[in-house]
C-alpha cells in the first residue's frame, strides 16, 4: 500500500487571477458542475430557513456574539490560554505560517513522527503545513474524504467546506483506480467511500500524531469545538497519542452558551444540515483512569495577518467569519470560475476579503475587484459580515496610500496606476462641471457614428455602446422651451 502523493505546493499567484478565471469560464464541464453543486447547496440551505424573520433574529444574535467576542479578543485569548493550560493543553502562538509550521514540526520531531493524520483544517491549508511536513520527511495524510481526494490528486481544495466539489464521480473513480493499489474502477459512491475508509482506518492506528482544526474555542472552559460529518475528526483527535489542534486567533468565544447559536447557523448555512453527524467538545488530553484519548495535546493559535484586520474598526468584521462557505455557494462569480481560479486557500467572497490580510494587497489586490457587488454574499452571511462594503474598502486601499492616521495595510496601494488615477480625475472634472458635462453629451450624441467599435472589455461579448440621438438633458430642455 503506497502512500498517496504528497500534497504539492500549488499556490498560484493571485495576480494571475484574470488569466485563470478566463480559462475557467470557458470550461463547460467546470461551469456545469459548480452550477449544479451550488444550486444544490443553495436549495438545502433555503430549506433550513423557512421563516425569514426567524433567520434575521438568529443572524442578529450570531453577529452580536461574534462582535462581542472580537471586542474582547486579547482578553479572551489570554483566558483561553489559562484555561487550556489548566486542562493540560500546551498552547502555542504563531505569528505567521512559518511559525505555525515550525511549532508543529518541532512537536512531530520530538515524537519521531513518520505519519500525521489530519482532520479537515483550512488553517493548515493556509499555512501550507503538508508541504512543510513533506520537506522534513513527515507524511501528512488527509482523512476527510474530500481532502483525501484532492490530496491524492495533488490538488488544493476548491471550496472550504467541500474540498473536492469540483470533481465528478467519474474523475474520483479514475483517480482511485490509478492511485490506490489493488483497486478496480468503480463509480459506486458507496464503494468509493469504502475504499477511502479502508485506507484511512489502517492509517489512524499507525499515526503518531492526529491534527485537527477548531470551529470554536471557548475561553471560559478551555474547550475546543470541532464540527464534522465523517467521524474522521473524532478519530484524529482521540486515536493517536498526540493531538495537535490548529486554528486562527479569531475563533475564540467567551462562554459555552455562545456556541449553540453559532453552531446552528454554521451547519444550516454550510450544508443545509440542522446538525452535523459529529460535534466534538474537546477539553484536554486523556485523564488518569480514562481508557482513550491522546496522552498529549497542543493548540496552535495562528495570527497570519488577522491582527491587521483586527486593528481596523471596519475591517475587523472580516474576523466574524465562522467559515460556513455560504458566501461562495451564493456567489455568481465563484459559481462561474470555481475555487481554484482564485489561487488562494480561501476562495469566493470571504477569500476576497480575508486573503489581502494574509498575503498582502500586492499579491491579492485584484481579488476584491472580482465582484459585481451584487450583495448575495452579504445577504446570506450568517454573522452579517458586510462583505460588499469590505470589498469596496479594499479596492480603495489597493488604489491609494494609507489614510492619514491609519497604519498602512500590507501591500497598501499596490494597484495604483497613473493612468487609472488620470481617468478618475478626468471623470470627476467632467461630472462636477454641469456645462462641460452637457457639452460633452451634445458632442457624444452628435458624433455618435464615430463611437469606437472596440470598447475595452465591453465588446468582448457585446455590441458597442452607442449614445442615443439626444441626451435626456436636451430632451428636457426642449420640453421646457415648448
Amino acid at each position: 500500500m503506497s502512500a498517496p502523493a504528497l500534497h504539492e505546493l500549488q499556490f498560484v499567484p493571485a495576480s494571475e487571477f484574470k488569466r485563470r478565471s478566463a480559462t475557467a469560464v470557458d470550461d463547460a464541464h467546470l461551469r456545469q458542475s459548480f452550477r449544479g453543486a451550488m444550486d444544490f447547496l443553495i436549495g438545502k440551505r433555503a430549506a433550513q430557513f423557512p421563516d425569514p424573520a426567524a433567520l434575521e433574529r438568529q443572524r442578529a444574535l450570531a453577529e452580536q456574539i461574534r462582535q462581542y467576542s472580537l471586542a474582547r479578543l486579547p482578553d479572551l485569548l489570554e483566558q483561553l490560554e489559562r484555561t487550556l493550560t489548566d486542562n493540560g493543553v500546551n498552547v502555542h502562538w504563531a505569528e505567521n505560517a512559518e511559525d505555525a509550521n515550525r511549532i508543529i514540526i518541532d512537536i512531530a520531531q520530538r515524537h519521531a513522527t513518520r505519519l500525521m493524520v489530519k482532520g479537515k483544517s483550512m488553517v493548515s491549508e493556509e499555512v501550507e503545513l503538508n508541504h512543510a511536513l513533506a520537506a522534513v520527511g513527515i507524511e501528512a495524510l488527509e482523512s476527510d474524504m474530500g481532502e483525501y481526494i484532492v490530496q491524492l490528486d495533488g490538488e488544493k481544495p476548491s471550496h472550504i467546506i467541500m474540498p473536492a466539489i469540483h470533481k465528478t464521480k467519474q474523475q474520483i473513480a479514475r483517480l482511485f483506480a490509478d492511485k490506490v493499489p489493488g483497486v478496480a474502477y468503480t463509480e459506486s459512491v458507496d464503494e468509493l467511500i469504502g475504499i477511502g475508509r479502508a485506507v484511512l482506518r489502517e492509517k489512524f492506528m499507525s499515526a503518531e500524531i492526529g491534527l485537527s482544526g477548531v470551529n470554536f474555542a471557548v475561553a471560559e472552559t478551555g474547550t475546543l469545538c470541532l464540527v464534522e460529518n465523517e467521524g474522521n475528526g473524532r478519530m484524529c483527535t482521540t486515536v493517536p497519542d498526540v493531538h495537535i489542534a490548529i486554528t486562527g486567533i479569531e475563533k475564540v468565544v467567551e462562554k459555552l452558551e455562545h456556541v449553540p447559536p453559532l453552531f446552528g447557523l454554521l451547519t444550516r448555512s454550510a450544508t443545509g444540515q440542522a446538525i452535523t453527524t459529529y460535534f466534538n467538545l474537546i477539553t484536554g488530553p486523556r485523564r488518569p483512569g480514562e481508557k482513550d484519548g491522546p496522552r498529549e495535546m497542543h493548540l496552535v493559535l495562528v495570527d497570519n495577518g488577522r491582527t491587521q484586520a483586527y486593528r481596523d474598526q471596519q475591517l475587523r468584521s472580516t474576523l466574524q467569519c465562522i467559515r460556513c462557505g455560504a458566501c461562495m455557494n451564493h456567489c455568481p462569480v465563484y459559481t462561474r470560475i470555481g475555487g481554484h481560479a482564485y489561487g488562494t486557500t480561501y476562495p469566493g467572497p470571504i477569500g476576497e476579503i480575508v486573503s489581502p490580510h494574509m498575503l498582502g494587497l500586492n499579491a491579492t489586490h485584484v481579488l476584491p475587484t472580482a465582484s459585481t457587488l451584487c450583495g448575495a454574499c452579504g445577504e446570506v452571511c450568517p454573522v452579517k459580515i458586510p462583505i460588499p462594503e469590505l470589498l469596496v474598502r479594499l479596492r480603495v486601499e489597493g488604489q491609494h496610500d494609507a489614510h492619514p492616521g491609519r497604519p498602512p495595510l500590507r501591500g497598501q496601494g499596490a494597484a495604483k496606476s497613473a493612468l487609472v488615477d488620470a481617468v478618475w480625475a478626468g471623470w470627476a472634472a467632467l461630472y462636477t462641471r454641469p456645462a462641460l458635462y452637457r457639452a460633452f453629451g451634445w458632442l457624444a450624441t452628435r458624433f455618435r457614428a464615430l463611437t469606437p467599435s472596440q470598447q475595452a472589455g465591453w465588446t468582448f461579448s457585446r455590441t458597442p455602446m452607442k449614445p442615443a440621438a439626444r441626451t435626456l438633458h436636451e430632451m428636457m430642455a426642449a420640453r421646457r422651451r415648448r
Binding site: S21, A428, G457, W458
Partner: protein, 259 residues
C-alpha cells in the same frame, strides 16, 4: 441588505425632482422621459434640475471615494425644496440613499446634508407603488414578459417587489419567471470592463434564462443591466431585447404601439 424594516412613505406630493442618472442621460433618455410622463399623468409636477450629472457610483464602487464625493457633492445643491427625489434606477437610488451618508462620514456637516438628501430618494417603481399608489390601465395586446431586477434594487433598496407589483396590474401581461431570477446579470459597472470573461459568462447565462421563458421582451428598472443584456443579445444576433420599466409602463398604459 440595507433596507431593514419597512420604510415609511409620505402622502402623494404635488411636486417631485427627477434625477435622470448618467446612463439614462446618454444611452436610454426615452426611459427618463417616460418616467416623467408617468409622474405627470398622476398630476405630479416634475422638476429636472439641469445641472445634474451622476450620483458618483462608478468612482465609489471602483475605490475612488474622493472623486465620488466631489461628484456627489455637485448634486447636493440641486434639490433645495423638500420634495421627493425620484430616480429611475435601483443602483443610483441605492447609492444616493445608502452610500451618501457613509461617503461623508468624515465631515459631520456634509454628512447631515447627505442624510437629509438620502431620506428623500425613491426608486421610480417604489415611488409609483408606495407613494403615488398608481392604478394602471392596460391598453396593450397580450404579451409574455420577463422581469430582471437589479441587485441594488433587490438587496439595497428592497424594491424588487415593486416592479413586479406594477406589472401585475396589467392584465394583458403574462409575467414569466426565469431561472436563477435573483442572480446578478454580470454588469457591476467597471466590473464588466475589468473582468470581461466572468462578466460575459454571467450575462450569457442571464440572457439564456430570459430566452428560455419564451418571453417576447423583458423589463428592468436599471439601465446598466439593460445595456449589458441588450448588447449581449445583439452580439449573439438575438431578436429579444429588454426595455426600461418606465417606457414599458408608459407604452402599455398610454395606448401607444409597442416598439
Amino acid at each position: 441588505m440595507h433596507e431593514t424594516g419597512a420604510r415609511r412613505y409620505p402622502e402623494k406630493p404635488a411636486r417631485v425632482y427627477l434625477f435622470g442618472t448618467c446612463l439614462i442621460d446618454m444611452f436610454c433618455p426615452r426611459a427618463g422621459m417616460d418616467a416623467l410622463n408617468l409622474l405627470e399623468r398622476e398630476g405630479i409636477e416634475v422638476h429636472f434640475p439641469a445641472d445634474q450629472t451622476c450620483c458618483g457610483q462608478p468612482a465609489h464602487s471602483s475605490g475612488f471615494p474622493e472623486q465620488a464625493r466631489a461628484v456627489a457633492l455637485a448634486q447636493f445643491a440641486l434639490f433645495p425644496e423638500p420634495w421627493p427625489i425620484v430616480v429611475p434606477s435601483g443602483s443610483c437610488a441605492g447609492t444616493m440613499r445608502h452610500h451618501y451618508p457613509s461617503l461623508f462620514e468624515d465631515d459631520p456637516r456634509l454628512q447631515a446634508q447627505a442624510r437629509a438628501l438620502a431620506e428623500r430618494v425613491y426608486e421610480l417603481s417604489e415611488f409609483l407603488t408606495e407613494v403615488v399608489k398608481i392604478r394602471l390601465t392596460d391598453r396593450g395586446a397580450p404579451l409574455r414578459v420577463a422581469l430582471h431586477t437589479s441587485c441594488a434594487a433587490r438587496r439595497e433598496m428592497g424594491t424588487h417587489r415593486h416592479g413586479r407589483a406594477l406589472l401585475e396590474q396589467l392584465p394583458g401581461v403574462d409575467l414569466a419567471v426565469h431561472g436563477h431570477e435573483s442572480e446578478c446579470c454580470g454588469f457591476g459597472g467597471t466590473f464588466s470592463l475589468k473582468h470581461p470573461a466572468i462578466s460575459s459568462a454571467m450575462a450569457g447565462d442571464k440572457v439564456d434564462a430570459l430566452k428560455e421563458t419564451g418571453a417576447e421582451t423583458f423589463i428592468s428598472a436599471d439601465c446598466g443591466c439593460l445595456l449589458n443584456l441588450n448588447h449581449t443579445l445583439q452580439k449573439r444576433g438575438e431578436i429579444l431585447q429588454g426595455q426600461h420599466l418606465a417606457s414599458f409602463l408608459w407604452q402599455r398604459t398610454n395606448g401607444e404601439e409597442r416598439q
